[in-house]
């Protein structure tokens, strides 16, 4: 009953989100047919667009995994944003300044980005454990600190003075992830992301540490009585989550960019929140949730290019989905009536 109810509720949330977007399109657009068609079916029109969905889902997979892990441990840190951004900056630095052979270069970069992400990720957790701060507040502030540090690093050491806009010099060719399919931007990063999904799945469900995360996040009291060191779990979880986000930053940079030009911090960590929620904090489901969001995004991009409706519509869909998926009492009346009916039916 409960599983079925969750599924129905999820469907209703999706239906509401779709209905709202259709209504908005009908209200504002002079060519609603084109807009709706492209939004929902655009990505299926060509091989290039379809695989663009996969490549756009790469950073979402990383942040979805990171946020899901943090949520699973019962914490609420947004530091993954800084981890991902700084991971990207580290990538830029190493891709420009260091010469290494093919194959080795990306690996070195990814390790460096992950380590950086892990270190940054640990800060709000350490502050929480030792200074009793709220990890959400500190992580939100620190995101800005690391963002500006990143901008500083790029402009001071790596900037391309010739380029008209904010951009670093070009990355060494050895430091890019190969495209796997012709005439698409489907790159190796997707497979790396899937690899990380598998690793995190194993971590969460097959290791001692993962067990401790799940128990400490689900019932800290029980964890204490089971001899689990909950402070250690909080810190290590955020280190791992930070490393995943940092790695995500480097994979995205190496897979999709030739130079660093994130003048604004990309909001992947915030998107990670919805991915984590839709996947129920289960790493296994993250690629699917990320695929869904990326699909809508690619669709929205096509819609904005081919019709008069802008792709920011996606944020609205995203917000409506989060609101209804997480509303505990959404449709609870319906559930109660069903249960009451069942109970009464049982008595007859």
């Amino acid at each position: 009953m409960s599983k079925k109810f969750t599924a129905i509720r999820l469907l209703c949330a999706f239906a509401i989100a779709i209905a709202i977007s259709v209504i908005i399109i009908l209200l504002v657009s002079e060519e609603p047919g084109t807009a709706i068609f492209n939004l929902f079916l655009g990505p299926l029109q060509s091989k290039r667009h379809f695989f663009e969905v996969f490549s756009s889902s790469v950073p979402l997979i990383f942040t979805g995994l990171a946020l899901g892990l943090v949520f699973k441990s019962g914490n609420f840190s947004m530091i993954s944003d800084a981890c991902l951004y700084t991971g990207g900056v580290v990538t830029a630095a190493l891709a420009i300044e260091v010469a290494l052979p093919y194959g080795v270069h990306p690996i070195v970069i990814m390790i460096a980005a992950a380590v950086t992400g892990g270190i940054i990720g640990s800060i709000p957790a350490l502050l929480k454990v030792y200074f009793h701060t709220n990890e959400l507040v500190t992580s939100l502030m620190l995101n800005y600190v690391f963002y500006y540090l990143g901008i500083y690093t790029i402009t001071k050491f790596l900037a391309d003075r010739e380029a008209g806009a904010f951009a670093s010099r070009k990355y060494a060719e050895t430091a890019s992830l190969p495209v796997l399919l012709d005439r698409t931007n489907f790159h190796l990063g997707y497979l790396i992301a899937i690899g990380v999904v598998i690793v995190l799945y194993l971590l969460v469900f097959k290791t001692r540490f993962g067990y401790e995360i799940r128990v400490a996040g689900s019932n800290p009291q029980f964890a204490k009585y089971s001899g689990i060191n909950t402070a250690k779990v909080i810190i290590l979880t955020q280190v791992v989550a930070g490393a995943v986000a940092g790695l995500g930053g480097s994979v995205e940079q190496m897979g999709m960019y030739q130079r660093f030009n994130w003048q604004d911090s990309p909001s992947y960590a915030w998107d990670g929140v919805i991915i984590a929620i839709l996947s129920g904090n289960n790493p296994k489901m993250v690629p699917f949730a990320a695929f869904f969001l990326a699909y809508i995004r690619v669709g929205a991009d096509l819609m904005s290019r081919r019709s008069d409706v802008q792709n920011e519509l996606v944020s609205i869909i995203q917000a409506v989905l989060i609101l209804f998926v997480t509303a505990e009492r959404f449709m609870s009346g319906w559930k109660q009536r069903r249960e009451a009916k069942k109970a009464l039916g049982g008595e007859v």
Partner: protein, 518 residues
């Protein structure tokens, strides 16, 4: 002469969602101007009854009368309006506000834009003087003593015009001197024409204060008596006596070595209350040591001190000759402790996680569940299913959540998990509380099995028949101290234990010292 009943509950029945019957045809008659005691053990249904009288819960059946008129309260506000006031066990106060502010909260002096604090202080002092309930009107509640907070709680009720006061175990947080003072004040209130319902399970207090008492047991009224008509033995029998006794077959005791002892365990909590007062005892292999006592007399702290979740205690804890007084929880488990905690959903399991996750909590990090360095699903399933089957847990799949099981089945899972772990000391804290008879019988049998396997067992239970039928020896705790030691269980009775538990009887130091041996 028939006196007028100011408050009357007639045939009250309360069934909670889920089918728990907390009150069954309960009757209560309180006369105007008396201090009426409502006594009964924990879980006897006192709090449920009071919540219904105060409008916080709606009775499933039955009627409530105030001043002879039937009333239907839909919230506490209605009860307040009808002249009732309640002093909750957990004070309903805002810590950062002053005493005077708390007094007027919800019924403020002054107007919308300016609460009249001066007036509030004046009223506080006036009421305080009138009823001799001394409070510091301008102190913040977080800075005052528990005794003063309680006085404030009484004043709050009086300010709102209460003439019937319900006090829910008011002395639980007080020292003996403060208790005495409270009694004087309550008597003064009675002289002023107030009626008081005094909920307690402390006999001496009831005798010192009240004129009549209503006894509740297992959600039913055992009758209302004039206190003068009953002696302590009689009250104890009515309160704790049980008719149902599940007989357990048990071999003659065959003790092995003395493997576990605690010596001079002392614990003072943050509020300065002594929770454990020089507790010493030993347990031998193959022995069940029962700890009797009314809830909240130090049993929980004793267990926490032994399993390692309480770290600020003094004294020595020894297991198999190893001093584990300062070892962390995990180390103590590995040294040989298993523990069934008193609250299975709060401390004993993670209800949202699967049966598997909850069953492996003691061994998840060991190699027995792993292959190639990873936790092996099949091994986990096999391990879980083996334990669940062995302990007759009724379940659909080992992957379902613990919250989907009934209380008895959750408890069997926990007992299975703890008994499967090869421990030398088993701590059973309220092992059969709130579960069905079948599960009770099963778990008790398992405990006896473990005794035959030469485990040392510490059994804490508020259920005297359980203590009596299982234990080889018994210590009784009262206010953090061991007040009684019974080395031959056959020679004692529930009534005798009841007297210890209620603080009426206390053994000599020498005799209690017998519970501990080197």
């Amino acid at each position: 002469m028939e006196q007028e009943n100011i408050l009357e509950a007639r045939n009250i029945t309360k069934v909670y969602p889920g089918g728990v019957v907390a009150n069954h045809n309960v009757n209560l008659e309180v006369r105007k101007g008396e201090i009426h005691a409502l006594v009964g053990e924990n879980g006897a249904g006192k709090s449920t009854l009071m919540k219904m009288l105060f409008g916080m819960l709606a009775p499933t059946e039955g009627q409530i009368f105030v001043d002879g008129k039937e009333v239907h309260f839909s919230s506490s506000s209605d009860a307040i309006a009808a002249g009732l006031g309640m002093v909750h066990q957990h004070f309903m106060q805002v810590p950062s506000m002053t005493v005077a502010e708390n007094l007027i909260l919800g019924a403020e002096t002054g107007n919308t834009f300016k609460v009249d604090r001066k007036e509030a202080v004046r009223i506080t002092n006036e009421l305080s003087d009138k009823y001799n309930l001394k409070v510091e009107a301008n102190e913040k509640v977080e800075d005052i003593s528990l005794a003063m907070r309680q006085k404030l709680e009484i004043l709050k009720a009086l300010y709102r015009g209460a003439h019937i006061l319900i006090l829910d175990e008011p002395t639980a947080v007080l020292t003996p001197q403060e208790t005495e003072e409270l009694f004087e004040q309550l008597k003064l209130l009675r002289e002023n024409g107030h009626t008081i319902i005094f909920i307690s399970h402390k006999l001496n207090e009831v005798k010192a204060l009240c004129s009549r008492m209503t006894i509740l047991r297992d959600g039913k009224t055992m009758g209302t008596y004039d206190i003068a008509d009953l002696d302590e033995q009689e009250i104890s029998r009515l309160m704790v006596g049980r008719n149902v006794s599940l007989d357990i077959e048990k071999d003659e005791a065959d003790y092995g070595k003395n493997i576990f002892s605690v010596k001079d365990l002392v614990y003072v909590d943050y509020f300065g209350k002594t929770r454990l007062d020089h507790v010493s005892f030993s347990i031998r292999q193959g022995q069940i040591l029962g700890v009797a006592g009314i809830d909240g007399n130090g049993q929980s702290e004793l267990v926490e001190a032994i399993v390692g979740t309480l770290r600020q205690q003094h004294g020595t804890i020894t297991l198999k000759g190893q001093d584990i007084s300062h070892a962390p929880v995990r180390a103590r488990q590995e040294a040989g402790i298993s523990h069934v905690s008193e609250d299975r959903l709060k401390y004993g399991s993670a209800p949202k996680l699967s049966l598997e996750d909850n069953t492996i909590s003691k061994v998840y990090y060991t190699s027995q569940l792993k292959s190639h360095g990873l936790i092996d699903k099949k091994k986990v399933s096999a391990f879980t299913n083996r334990i669940l089957k062995e302990f007759l847990v009724k379940y659909k799949s080992s992957k379902q959540a613990v919250s989907e099981l009934s209380g008895g089945n959750v408890q069997k899972l926990i007992v299975g998990r703890e008994f499967d772990y090869d421990a030398d000391l088993l701590i059973m804290n309220q092992p059969t509380r709130g579960i069905d008879v079948g599960a009770i019988e099963f778990i008790r049998k398992k405990i006896v099995d473990m005794r035959s396997k030469k485990k040392a067992i510490l059994l804490i239970s508020a259920d005297l028949s359980e203590i009596l039928s299982l234990s080889d020896a018994i210590v009784v705790m009262h206010e953090g101290k061991i007040v009684g030691y019974i080395d031959d269980v056959k020679k004692t009775t529930e009534n005798e234990l009841g007297l210890y538990m209620l603080g009426v009887k206390e053994d000599s130091r020498e005799r209690i010292g017998g519970a501990y041996c080197e």
